[in-house]
Symmetry: C2
Subunit: 202 residues, 2 copies
């Protein structure tokens, strides 16, 4: 208990933020109360509004304010390309860093039989119908390059094959700016096996 | 613009938190919406409640829910000792790390003539009356050990002298756990000039 109960309660509530411990929570609470009251009020409203409005897009399962999300309902997107990702964070990363212009399908996880996460939980029945409709020509399987992500990708590849839809996967290899000596064994040996022709144009 | 407008607005509002940039704001927003909706609602309520309730304590100028803060109104505190600090964060640090049991006076800043912060802005008129009342026997001047903090301490020392109240200041020296070779010049030379007798008890 410090000098004010509502201050203590704010500090305690702030520790729900990922990466914020007791010390940072105190610092943030003082900052909000002493210098950023208006912005703090806007933050409280934004939290309420997002929790009130945000649901799952009926088409891609991503977060959305309405039945269909802003990406799925955007008529400028290429509706023949469908990119499957594990999480909304992946959609943000792809939108902000690539020129991909197709649609998405968000699994909200990966196949994990031990945790009871199977095809049903990942909405693969919805994806199955989507592929059956014949609208999709390429399924870009962008699950993580982890063990679980690869297992999920394998499953999705089979699904694409069943519907005779072309399946692709982002290229593996040496990250740009990466140093070979710091690279893990799998990536480096894969990159060497998959080496590309290199020509210098004068 | 991503997949949801209220998600984007939440991300934008979260950047008002100190140390939270665009990337962390995205990560926090997804975490709150996907995994911590209940805690997020509690946070929004705590922000509203703190901004609604928190004002300044009429006695010590610290943050408080009522006219007089929880420390000033605590009958178990030693009412003869008054510790002057620059900020509420200093009160928290002293409360959490020392066994100080007296009261506080929070300047909410330090003397800075160029920024127009003088005796009036720091509430020194209130402090003056407090010292005149004869209730205080020791004024612990715990402003920061910076140039501005020292200038403010000098001013407070004069105020104590005027009312014949004993003034003290936290000891300067080598921080516990600190290495001499990393220490700044002023601290090290001061610590050597002020060396203490050292005896080993067998």
């Amino acid at each position: 208990m410090s000098f004010s109960q509502s201050f203590d309660e704010l500090v305690s509530a702030l520790t729900c933020l990922p990466g914020v411990g007791a010390k940072s929570a105190q610092r943030i609470a003082l900052e909000l109360l002493l210098k950023r009251q208006e912005q703090a009020k806007i933050l409280a409203r934004a939290i309420d509004c997002a929790i009130e409005n945000v649901r799952r897009c009926a088409q891609c399962r991503n977060l959305s304010d309405s039945e269909i999300c802003l990406i799925c309902s955007n008529s400028k997107r290429n509706r023949e390309h469908l990119c499957v990702v594990e999480n909304p964070a992946d959609v943000l990363a792809i939108e902000q860093n690539t020129d991909y212009q197709g649609l998405y399908f968000v699994l909200m996880g990966h196949i994990a039989p031990l945790d009871g996460v199977g095809a049903q939980e990942l909405g693969l029945d919805i994806l199955d119908k989507r592929l059956a409709s014949g609208e999709i020509t390429e399924l870009l399987i962008a699950t993580n390059s982890t063990l679980e992500g690869e297992a999920t990708a394998y499953f999705l590849g089979e699904l694409a094959q069943k519907h005779a839809v072309a399946a692709t996967r982002p290229a593996n290899g040496v990250p740009m700016g990466g140093e070979l000596s710091y690279l893990d064994r799998n990536t480096l040996s894969f990159a060497f096996r998959s080496r590309q022709n290199f020509s210098v144009n004068n």
